[in-house]
């Protein structure tokens, strides 16, 4: 459906620029924050969502006029930014570099879930207050809202420029961004700079949320996740920490998306953004506008992971616990309990997989649920469409997830620290979007139904005990394999990469090779987990393994202790099992995970059993 006349293209261009403006409001804030604190703020999308809801409250509940609404949104979100900085991040300043990254993830979960509890997960439509006229421009048209958005975008940019250029505080912000330590030595109050930057960034983010709510005429508590990611993409296109670059990157991203939709249809929209992200990360990790060979923005030294002394479980205790777990169904007969624990063991496979890449190798993957999805779809489609017996399909699915997962993340292997998290997050989203769009293979949004259960000699293993035993046995076997692996030369090699990749390289460790090995093993384990889920659930679709599952897995891993095999199992048992057993209402569960994550990072970053 290629439009041939010019008019629609003009509309797509206008649309792209408008969306680009909205992204720019987000990306500029992210760039400011990165500039002064070297942090990619994963909570930024949630602030944007809060902005949208404050706007909705102002308009519908308080019947405030639009200009006042803007002021209230900016002030409210600015305040929220200050609180995030003060409560969430400042206490972590001396912590290893992984901590603030995880904290912003935890904060984002807490904000999204709180909004969901307060406003229900359903979308809401903010009433529009703008006149409905549109100006016809050469076959296309521009509406009042388009002009408003453009005006807010340009106005904010001008204000920000003025602030950075002509005020003392703005000067301090620029000095801090140039060299934090030097600025501190020159008497710049770095805390104040941080606070200011968070306030400004969050105010802009909130306004962006308000505008987007008006533009699409719908808001929902989960709108921030995608938007935050888009802001990050836009910022990376322009070069992290580069404010004008962020604006240019945003406009470019808006246009890419708008033209992409014109050419391929709406459901591909996000795919373009994420593919663009991966391409940029791989080809120009410093952004499109960076001069060649700039210094890496991350310090070359400094620990990413906290020093720790892990709890070493004695051998007999491990065997004892395993035996007790295996014997449990003989003593406990409630099917509900067994099913819950069985589900916990399935998630433990995901945690086991994630603890290898995020913990042992230090590549904090935020798209790990994508591996579950690949395994689940592989096994389901192999059994249904290729007639492969279930018992064979499950290990094959593990291999598929290992291969595909490694291949998808491979381009990101050259990245370090926070960039890995962004890239894996994007890869996870790409997997979901491909599943959604590749209808001939995956059945698209309908999902896969009637997936056959696991069966041995024609007997389906569906009763309570089997739902418990099968995942447990698989888990124990794979945990044993992983422990043996960590005990070999690979264990110390992978951990050396985590501790200091530069030093590891200097001693002949080929980073790509070992990261690939770790991702392959992790993909296999998670793929098996996903396959088992598919056969137990009997129905899967693209939303069965959403992004929050990745966050849940990360919380499990941190709870147990990074890289810690026993810890991963413990983390899964605690986080999946306990809420269920205490019958905590399902809607509070993600909130609890977010709070657990934040508390852990603050008070016990090494987790219960310690980093291995």
């Amino acid at each position: 459906m290629l439009p041939t006349s010019l008019g629609p293209w003009l509309d797509y261009t206008i649309n792209g620029l408008v969306i680009g403006n909205i992204y720019a409001l987000l990306a500029v804030g992210l760039a400011l924050i990165f500039g002064v604190s070297h942090l990619i703020n994963f909570a930024h999308g949630s602030v944007y969502m809060v902005g949208a809801y404050i706007g909705w409250l102002c308009v519908t509940q308080l019947a405030l006029p639009l200009p006042v609404t803007f002021v209230v949104v900016a002030a409210g979100c600015g305040l929220l930014g200050v609180v995030i900085e003060r409560v969430g991040l400042r206490p972590l300043r001396e912590a290893p570099r992984i901590a603030p990254l995880l904290a912003t993830i935890g904060l984002s979960v807490v904000m999204d879930q709180t909004a969901q509890l307060l406003f229900s997960p359903d979308p809401r439509a903010p009433p529009t207050q703008l006149p409905a006229w549109r100006i016809a421009v050469g076959g296309g048209s521009i509406g009042a809202l388009d002009l408003l958005i453009a005006g807010v975008g340009v106005g904010s940019a001008a204000l920000l420029y003025g602030f950075l250029r002509f005020t003392r505080l703005g000067w301090a912000v620029r000095a801090t961004a140039l060299d934090r330590d030097a600025a501190r030595q020159c008497g710049v109050d770095v805390d104040k700079v941080n606070r200011t930057v968070f306030a400004i960034a969050s105010a802009l983010g909130g306004v962006s949320g308000l505008l987007v709510g008006m533009y699409y005429n719908t808001i929902d508590p989960n709108m921030g996740f995608q938007a935050g990611l888009k802001g990050i993409v836009a910022q990376l296109i322009g070069g992290v920490g580069n404010v004008p670059g962020a604006i240019a990157g945003s406009l470019l991203l808006g246009l890419i998306e708008s033209y992409g939709i014109a050419l391929f249809g709406t459901s591909y929209r996000n795919l373009f953004a994420f593919v663009a992200l991966i391409v940029i990360l791989v080809l120009r990790p410093n952004g499109l506008f960076a001069r060649a060979r700039r210094l890496p923005p991350e310090p070359l030294t400094g620990t990413f992971i906290a020093p720790s002394r892990p709890v070493v479980l004695p051998r007999w205790a491990v065997w004892g616990l395993a035996a007790a777990a295996l014997a449990l169904p003989l003593a406990v007969r409630q099917p509900y309990l067994l099913q819950t624990l069985g589900n916990a063991w399935l998630f433990a496979l995901l945690a086991l997989s994630l603890t290898l890449v995020a913990g042992t190798v230090g590549q904090v993957s935020l798209g790990h649920a994508g591996l579950l999805a690949i395994g689940a779809y592989a096994s389901a489609l192999l059994t249904l469409d290729a007639g492969v017996p279930v018992l064979l399909a499950v290990p094959l699915a593990g291999l598929v997830a290992a291969t595909l997962g490694t291949a998808l993340v491979y381009p990101a292997f050259r990245l370090r620290g926070h960039y890995v998290s962004i890239a894996t997050l994007a890869v996870g989203e790409i997997v979901t979007l491909v599943i959604l769009n590749w209808e001939s293979l995956t059945r698209g949004p309908i999902g896969v139904t009637g997936i056959p259960p696991l069966a041995v000699a024609g007997t389906p293993l569906v009763s309570g005990q089997w739902v418990y035993w099968v995942p447990l046995v698989v888990l124990l076997a794979l945990a044993a394999v992983q422990s043996r692996l960590l005990d070999s030369h690979l264990g110390r090699t992978l951990r050396a990469i985590r501790e200091d990749d530069i030093a590891a390289r200097s001693y002949g460790v080929e980073l790509d090779r070992y990261k690939a090995l770790a991702f392959a093993v992790a993909g296999f384990v998670a793929g098996i987990g996903g396959a088992l889920m598919a056969h137990f659930y009997s129905y899967i679709n693209h939303e069965t393994f959403p992004a929050p599952v990745s966050m849940l897995a990360l919380t499990m891993v941190i709870l147990g202790g990074l890289g810690n095999v026993a810890g991963a199992v413990l983390g899964a048992a605690v986080l999946v099992g306990l809420p269920e057993l205490f019958r905590a209402a399902a809607e509070y569960r993600m909130l609890i995970y977010g709070i657990v994550l934040l508390l852990l990072i603050r008070f016990r970053p090494q987790g219960l059993l310690g980093t291995v």
């Binding site: 210094l295 030294t301 620990t303 992971i305 020093p307 720790s308 002394r309 394999v481 043996r484 692996l485 070999s488 030369h489 690979l490 110390r492 090699t493 951990r495 050396a496 985590r498 501790e499 200091d500 530069i502 030093a503 590891a504 390289r505 200097s506 001693y507 002949g508 460790v509 080929e510 980073l511 090779r513 690939a516 090995l517 392959a520 093993v521 980093t611 291995v612």
Partner: protein, 309 residues
Amino acid sequence: MTSQPGKPLLEVAGLTRRFGGLTAVNGLDLTVGEGELVSVIGPNGAGKTTLFNLIAGLDAPDAGAVAFDGRDVSGLPAERLAALGLARTFQHGRVFGNLSVLDNVLVGAHTRLRAVRPRPRLPLLGPLAELALALVRPAPVRAEEERLRAEALEIVALFGERLTPRLDQPAHSLSYANRRRLEIARALALRPRLLLLDEPTAGMNPTETAEMLAIIRSLKGRGLTILLIEHKLDLVMQLSDRVVVMDHGARIAEGLPAAVAADPAVIEAYLGHKAVGGLAEPDGAEPDGAGQGGGNQHGERPVVARAAR
């Protein structure tokens, strides 16, 4: 592997690296013969560490070439250079904090793993074979691991009782001086043909420095080729076969230790920079990292004058 003494092992020609407007290494030439110990000295910010990074493949030069054992290795990544037998320590200490002392040393021996990393190195099969061998661990793999472990213990024993009692402790629990020792132990586990030491005694007190001097001397005695960056000129004078002096990225003098110390250009460079960090203070506060440029707060006396005495 046997070559007659004096044959150049490392040849650096016209090496240049710029950071923005600053030329950290400027057309540098340097040769290190087999079995030789060459020291690189120069004021803070002279470009010594940058030179090491370029030689070791951690950074890429803007111009110039590096040859190792007669082979052009310019642009080879660090991991390949390690495999060729080049080991280096880091000025600020980069041990693997959460790994035990023993594991740190064993990572140093990574390039020497043969049984578990079979050759030829096939692209996809190689890693998979390595994975399988690590899991199954047949007898040759176990034997190799045992052998390397035994050797690691021997290397650690070079440092007397400093590291041996702490073999199983995580490296982050070690004292600063012990971390420096561990770095050297890790480098020795590679069985290097060329060892680059970046300020091995930074942060050490006189006793510890003397101990380190004895260790470096014994390594030299075993025929190891060493390129040494050091601010403590007493040590440089005692150990070096040859000294290269750098300032502003360029080589300003080269020759026998005594000759270099008397060279007016060298004295001028040091006087111009007032002094060299870390040197004049026996308690050895660590010299400031890259980025602090030439100025420094330690040490009042011109070092060369002192060393020449």
